[in-house]
Amino acid sequence: MIWALLGVPTAAGAAAFFIRPDGPRRFLLLAAALAHAALTAACWGALPGPVLGGYLELDAAGRLFLSLTSVLFLATAAYAKGFLKSAGHSKEEEDAEGFLFDNAPEAVFIGCLLLFLGTMTLAALSQHFGLLWVGIEATTLVSAPLIHFHRQRSSLEATWKYLLICSVGIALALLGNFFLAVAARHHQDLLMTGRELAAHAAELDQPWLKAAFLLFLVGYGTKMGLAPLHTWLPDAHSEAPSVVSALLSGALLNCAFLALMRVNAVLCAAGLADFTGGLLMGFGLLSMAVAAAFIIGQTDFKRMLAYSSVEHMGVLAFGVGLGAAAPAAMLHAVNHSLTKALLFLTAGNLLAAGRTKSVGEVRGLLRALPFSGFLWLIGFLAITGSPPFGPFISELWILQGALGRHHGALAALYLALLAVVFVGMATIVLKMCHGEPSERFKVVPAEDDPWRLWPPALLAAAVLVLGLWVPRPLLDAVKEAAVVLGAR
């Protein structure tokens, strides 16, 4: 089962490089996404056993994040069908600076997209810290060509920053791996998996363990987009095609979060939960504050979404750092992924219709593009934590956790930052939605491609349902995941 989960996207991705005709290649993307989703769904019946001597195993936490990745990939693969039909063959487009540019070959795009799924699956399945590192670094490398799909200067700049900042960050996480090995040196034949290390946590060397966590926090925190290491994120998310942005934000950041949480679990088992909790809460609130500062007055609506991702990664770190709110943080990861994918896919529709990312040039969306405009509004309400959508529930649960632990001041700060982001985004989004359609939206193509409308619409429906009612299995799953990841 585990081999199939890894093999399907990898084999399909390798094959996509060599299939010449467009039709079968696009079909392959969708078929592989469906197969991966079906395999993931099968894991909900019974968890498959470990393979490779325990290096790879799907546990409750891995299953939660793998499912998220799989669902988002399915939605984006369906959306990509519509996206590639319009973008795949337009030889020249005009960017904001007036330069003409081509798009990358579609075979490379689809191939890398599928390999991206494969590497994220590896990251979700790895129990061994070395292998986990290999998986996370591999996600960086296969996603770099995806960001550079639109062959223009700004996307190249974003790709370079992404590659360099993330590679250096993750190299430090490798050093963290070695520190972890040093911490475990008294126990010669210990396998470097989360479970083994947690079981022998008392024998680990504490100063080395703390140093290792700091390096992991820098390394995987860079990839996850925690401030102040988030600088690659707004560039990459805004310059990548919206299909890729949705995956980067909804799936990739979660993989890095999962990796960090696996290290956190070892430290919690070693009795250092207060140390890691304090750091996580601090960086979480800092990320929220930085994001809030940049969302206010943001002029590019995709960058606004990217900063919102920084904010929500901060919420996740804050929730986990609180300890008691760890299950809430897991639920929030689910809600954030679904909502952010909805928003990025809708942003892709806006971009395709108006050919601008500038907030100032977008007015009257509700009239010009009734369907996408409505989804944009829904997405905004959901992501800022308004009832009755999913993120409202999980953010409230995290707040409850903070108050339950008597962190009154931190809870107040958390609420204040959420409020600032709400106001900042409301100013931007409401202006975009209401009023007379602006110049670029006077004449827009009809919204008639179901592949570009239904994936975000279904995601919106899911977010709404999660706000009204959290299904029992999901609730159990997030609690189980939090326990696996060492919640107290």
Binding site: Y55, H128, V134, T159, F178, P207
Partner: protein
């Protein structure tokens, strides 16, 4: 510590200083290749009396990648980019060397403070590894060209590799090869990106990549 390991450690330190002081890019690339070869040979020389197939495989693959493939990839990127053969630092060469000496001092100090944990004889590798890591990070931030940033990344990787050898000898082969493959892919993808940057901008100066802000 065996005589050969001692010599290697000294050579690694000297190669770091040479990267900081060299003004020609090709000299920097050669020095990093030399450093890669030294680190590839290190596990063999440190265990001369107990060679295993696993050890030879590991040493062979890392020497091949670090000393031959990476320099070749970077040299190719440099040739494609044409004329820019100078390093063009933000921080001058003398200042860089002075910083290097400071890093060396810091690495020795830190290395002495760390609890001895590795196998006997490789102890001096720890300050060397830390020094190499510092130099790598410094080169990334203090040099203007994209090629030099990749070089800095390679030096950083070398330092981490050296640290891993000093301490974590029980890394499984699978993981080790995975790490090597990842680094290889990183340099490969960076090389392709360099090619695109050059074609698009006609230069490789990263400080002029400033369109994206806020």
């Amino acid at each position: 510590m065996s005589f050969w390991v001692e010599i290697l450690v000294i050579l690694v330190v000297l190669s770091n200083l040479r990267v900081l002081g060299a003004s020609r890019l090709s000299a920097c690339i050669q020095t990093v290749a030399f450093q890669g070869a030294l680190l590839g040979l290190l596990p063999v020389l440190a265990n001369l009396d107990a060679l295993t197939v696993r050890l030879l495989l590991q040493a062979g693959s890392s020497t091949f990648l670090k000393a031959m493939v990476f320099p070749w990839l970077l040299g190719r990127a440099l040739r494609q980019a044409g004329l820019q053969r100078e390093v063009e630092p933000f921080v001058g060469f003398t200042a860089s060397l002075a910083a290097g000496v400071l890093f060396l001092g810091a690495a020795l100090w830190l290395g002495a403070r760390l609890p001895q944990a590795g196998p006997e004889g490789l102890g001096r590798l720890v300050p060397t590894a830390l020094f190499t890591i510092f130099v790598g990070l410094f080169v990334i931030v203090s040099r203007r060209q994209a090629v030099t940033q990749v070089l800095g990344y390679l030096i950083l990787e070398n330092g981490i590799y050296a640290f891993g050898m000093a301490f974590a000898e029980h890394q499984p082969l699978l993981v080790e090869l995975g790490i090597l493959l990842d680094v290889f892919m990183a340099v490969f993808v960076m090389g392709i990106t360099l090619f695109h940057i050059h074609r698009e901008f006609d230069h490789l100066d990263t400080d002029r990549l400033t369109a994206l802000k806020h």
